[in-house]
């Protein structure tokens, strides 16, 4: 990814925000690759593909024991996303 950056053309608010939060202005050429994750209608690639994969998850786990002991806070509902 860094190879697409030709140079740092400016750095704003370094003093105020520090290096990590400052505004770095980068001159880029052929900078990428990036994947289009949302379109102009607001659809999400990740959500679309996750939904597709979730649909076949039950089949994958068919016949296996429940993965949790049903203690407080545990869930084996695979539609609960864990972050």
């Amino acid at each position: 990814l860094g190879r697409g950056v030709k140079q740092v053309s400016d750095l704003h608010w370094k003093k105020e925000l520090g290096l990590a939060q400052a505004m770095w202005v980068l001159d880029v050429e052929n900078f990428g690759p990036f994947i289009v994750e949302s379109d102009l209608d607001g659809n999400s690639l990740f959500e679309r593909e996750n939904a597709r994969i979730s649909a076949s998850l039950d089949k994958v786990y068919e016949g296996t024991k429940p993965a949790v002991l049903k203690r407080f806070g545990e869930t084996d509902d695979r539609s609960d996303e864990m972050i």
Partner: protein, 138 residues
Amino acid sequence: VQTQLLRRLPIFALADIVYLDGTVYTAREGVYKRVLEDGIAMPMDLPADSAANFHCSPAATQHDDGSFDLGAVTATASFRFSKWIGPWLAASGAKLIIGKGGMSSKDYREHFVPHGAIYLTTGWLWHGCAFGAWCQTG
């Protein structure tokens, strides 16, 4: 895609691969708070200078003489910036938000669509499994 003076984006389909030419700037919670909560004027002319906001803290330093040493540029996870993204798109005119992992389709519909903006991701990372499966079946 040219990152400056993007009045309207070309039409992209999900999963298209995009390379950028022009100017990209990093801005994350520090900048969002300063501009949106503290009302401090932006140090750049946005979106004239650039309409591409990169969620990134570069591994870079600035030397005493003002020159830069740029190491890696990797994206940071964007979902944490959800609460600022609507006002930020309005204030900055950004058409491209570049980061890691995407945001929710709720954010896209509420905030990105009205401003004609889209999200570009650097890739899979913790979505590796999802993406692997998609590569095989898609």
